[in-house]
Symmetry: C2
Subunit: 320 residues, 2 copies
């Protein structure tokens, strides 16, 4: 069994194309990043969750891609906010189309997400999914704002604050598609609760692994410069751990490099080396969370839950 089923991915791709289907500069800008080789992990999670209890996946595709559209808009706007010029190995939307069109292209994708939900035929499920998606999207904005605040503020965030922030910024858009799958496949209350606990944990590991890859990934594979989070001063779990555990002189040296946009490649490399033990700490957290996540799947059919178990493993092993 392949982890990513090509037939399912193709159906997701078709549905995305159907939702963003006009011509012209604005739509081109909206599609630029959306069709630049994303993993489609969010809608794929909707489908895999749905398959735990039901078979005919066609009805889950439209709500599933709504989350991918939200994800797409947030990437376009994030790149403007962070002034990033590369994503997925391609120039970002504002670099190619200019900032005004990039803002608008993000706004369009945001709107098209809700437009997709409005096309659903089952009114009750549509309303439930509107609630899920709009609440998750609010959290994404809030988490993003907190992340930016962490970069600027003097007081170092606590680990609790950090986990709360990533549960909003990243977790919400992992939990939402899984909840969508649960709603569409008529999960019981108990089943929905269990799958959400699974979802929260893989949402967390997803963000942590992203941050790990920024430090030890391969530039060409991750599609952006290694150590860019260091330059931007992002308070990742590794950075927080390092600031708590590094001896004073190293800590001062580390703080000189963190958030310094003029840091040399040498200095970035030095900072990454200082983060070695913190990367191991992060990996331990991810391992524990992955075991817990898989435990929550145990109430579902052994055969059918296999792919979701593998996804949990994949998230912390992936190199891109």
């Amino acid at each position: 069994m392949e982890l990513f089923d090509k037939t399912i991915l193709l159906k997701i791709e078709e549905e995305l194309n159907r939702q963003v289907n006009k011509e012209g500069k604005l739509y081109e800008a909206s599609k630029h990043l959306l069709f630049a080789g994303g993993k489609r992990i969010r809608p794929y999670l909707s489908v895999l969750t749905y398959l735990l209890k039901k078979d005919d996946i066609d009805e889950v595709l439209t709500p599933a891609v709504s989350v991918e559209l939200i994800h797409g808009y947030s990437l376009i706007h994030d790149d403007i906010m962070d002034n990033d010029s590369e994503r997925r190995g391609k120039p970002t939307v504002h670099i190619v189309y200019g900032e005004p069109i990039a803002i608008l292209a993000g706004d369009l994708l945001n709107t098209l997400a809700f437009n997709a939900i409005s096309q659903m035929e089952n009114l009750e499920k549509a309303h439930e999914i509107l609630k899920i998606v709009s609440k998750a999207s609010v959290k994404v904005c809030e988490g993003q704002a907190t992340d930016m605040e962490f970069e600027e503020r003097e007081v170092i965030p606590t680990i609790d604050e950090y986990f709360d922030m990533i549960s909003k910024k990243t977790g919400a858009l992992i939990v939402a598609p899984i909840e969508i799958g649960a709603v569409m496949a008529d999960f019981t209350e108990e089943e929905r609760k269990a799958i959400c606990e699974y979802a929260k944990r893989i949402g967390m590991t997803f963000q942590i692994q992203d941050d790990v890859l920024d430090l030890i990934g391969d530039k060409n594979t991750i599609g952006k410069p290694v150590g860019s989070d260091i330059v931007e001063g992002k308070k990742t779990i590794m950075v927080l751990h390092a600031l708590q555990t590094l001896p004073e002189p190293e800590k001062q040296r580390f703080l000189k490099i963190l958030g310094n946009s003029n840091a040399t490649d040498e200095e970035i490399k030095e900072a990454i080396e200082m983060l070695g033990p913190s990367i191991n700490y992060a990996k331990d957290i991810m391992k524990t969370a992955t075991i817990e996540a898989k435990d929550y799947l145990k109430i579902f059919d052994e055969e059918k839950r296999k792919r979701l178990e593998n996804i949990a493993e994949f998230i912390i092993e992936r190199v891109f």
Copy 2:
């Protein structure tokens, strides 16, 4: 009868406050412009439309403010795109909070609009309104992109292209709240069609009057510099008319000033003077459209339609 009923406006204000009700920098940024003295004409139109057929306005408030939230987000993002530093006599959101938070504050309002719809209790009406609002929001993005394209492109837009553009950029968010009122008050097909024809016309006059005020309004009353559209090279109906009717030497002189960010106050004044006959042309269009708009109201109760008739008049007479 006062045109703007204070009791209704207060209820709209309360509902808006309920929808955007958290603390912190992101929410402050989202509220900065939203509570800076907007006319609330869009939700007010929902309520007035609703009152044509039903009395208890409480149920229309939540969907009504969803459109105000969409309008609010689009203003914040427009100001970034146009690099405007003043709106409603106050510094714009990106000037006060910086661009990243301003982008996010707009995204939040956009999301909160759909979050508001998700709180509605009548599922069928909620779904219908989700369709109306998401379709209108797509049009706003498309119209905005076309407007920007008009500013840049060599070929002068035709009058038809212009009307199509403003029907999306501005008209969609005037028609949508009126349709919301119609849905919530269970209008018949015929009544809904009539009120939409009214809506399209006042949506058009609303944009044209905005453009007129940019030329002949008072800086302090309109809350932004007079002639800013000239400097930005906006292709308003007056500009299009002038380009079709000015004798060649004047036209060339006019084109030298239009879109020239270094134009002096003297030159802007000169351009506005050249637009005199075109302003009269625009006023004639508005007068005809207002008469037509009011004609479409004739199928409704004489007493109850009064305020909507007055709103149509107000739109073309207002000075802010």
